[in-house]
């Protein structure tokens, strides 16, 4: 089995390298095909301060076929599914070559966080948010980093706001909550309609009426 020797070598090299900020761990001592990779969010991005973990599965044909990787940490990024963690990156598909390693691939993921490609999205909703409102996207991505990718205060979780999680302006949710609609239903409808804020909306009343209509349907 050629892949076993190479994976063992890669693990050893990664263990000795303290510079790259990338680490690899076997999920189970006796299985070299299931690993977890860790790296830090790049500085100067909304992912700064977060530690991201990536599920790695090594196929039989490795290193001739790419490793299967997906984010285990939830992350808000145009090229990564916000639901499943699936990654859209060429080297994990047809641009893979056997000189790439698990470490170099994790470093590529780190640089993907630095330079998103919203025009070739994995998560269309997130990409739309990125293109329409970069500042709003950054806030949501930073928020996700804070609640999902930070170690430490796990008990701080109760504080997080469900509206910020989807990048929805809390004022809108409160507005409909005050009318007597349940908070979770309001967020569900706003998500479905991709309404994040009223900024830049030309006919605010019409949109409000649309939301109301949907909410009434939802709650009837």
């Amino acid at each position: 089995m050629s892949r076993v020797k190479r994976i063992a070598k890669e693990l050893e090299e990664c263990r000795q390298d303290t510079q790259s900020g990338v680490s690899l761990r076997l999920n189970n001592e006796n299985d070299l095909t299931k690993l977890t990779g860790f790296f830090k969010g790049p500085p100067g991005t909304p992912y700064e301060g977060g530690v991201f973990s990536v599920d790695i599965t090594i196929p039989n044909e490795y290193p001739f076929k790419p490793p299967v990787m997906k984010f285990a940490t939830k992350i808000y990024h145009p090229n990564i599914s916000s639901v499943t963690g699936a990654i859209c990156l060429d080297i994990l598909k047809d641009a893979w070559t056997p000189i790439l390693t698990l470490k170099s691939t994790l470093i590529s993921l780190q640089s993907l966080l630095q330079s998103p490609e919203p025009n070739d999205p994995q998560d269309a909703e997130v990409a739309k948010h990125y293109l329409a409102n970069k500042a709003g996207f950054d806030d949501t991505a930073a928020y996700w980093t804070k609640i999902y990718a930070s170690d430490g205060d796990k008990d701080g979780k109760s504080e997080f706001s469900d509206s910020a999680l989807y990048g929805i302006d809390d004022a809108i949710v409160t507005q409909f909550e005050n009318m007597g609609f349940p908070r979770d239903k309001t967020i569900e409808v706003l998500r479905r309609m991709s309404v994040k804020s009223f900024d830049g909306v030309r006919d605010k009343t019409a949109l409000e009426n649309q939301i109301l209509e949907e909410l009434l349907k939802e709650c009837s």
Partner: protein, 143 residues
């Protein structure tokens, strides 16, 4: 003083001669790893036991990247390789240094040729499609 040699043992070492015309300064010895399996060239690919002629190396001629023959064979067997060098993604071609065409070298040549045919077919297909597209366009313009 007279010394009688009772017994003697001969030793020898060997290594691949990777000196090439483009890199004459590599006086022959290169302490390098095969980029695919990450084992030294003087060692074997992961599936072989004995280094040397049983597990030869291949020198790239388009680029200057070298691999164990068995490693580059496995890579070129993948459709996704598109016949490209794993290091630099140029079309992979090799220098034939071996006097005898072994079965493995024949396989290597077949794979390289196969990828070339695929590439050429892909190219002509695209050209034809492009021409068809142009024709359609032309008709519309005329109509």
């Amino acid at each position: 003083m007279k010394v009688n040699i009772v017994e003697w043992h001969g030793f020898s070492t060997w290594h691949w001669n990777l000196a090439t015309e483009s890199h004459p300064e590599n006086s022959g010895y290169v302490d390098e790893l095969c980029g695919i399996c990450r084992v030294a060239f003087d060692g074997t690919c992961p599936n072989c036991k004995y280094p040397g002629d049983d597990c030869p190396i291949v020198l790239g001629s388009g680029c200057t990247h070298n691999f164990h023959l068995h490693c580059i064979l496995k890579w070129l067997e993948q459709d996704t390789s598109k016949g490209l060098c794993p290091m630099c993604r140029q079309t992979f071609t090799y220098k034939n240094l071996y006097p005898i065409m072994t079965e493995e070298l024949v396989n290597l040549q077949t794979l390289i040729d196969g990828h070339r045919v695929m590439r050429e077919r892909f190219q002509t297909d695209n050209e034809q499609e492009f021409e068809a597209f142009e024709d359609e366009d032309g008709e519309q313009m005329n109509g």
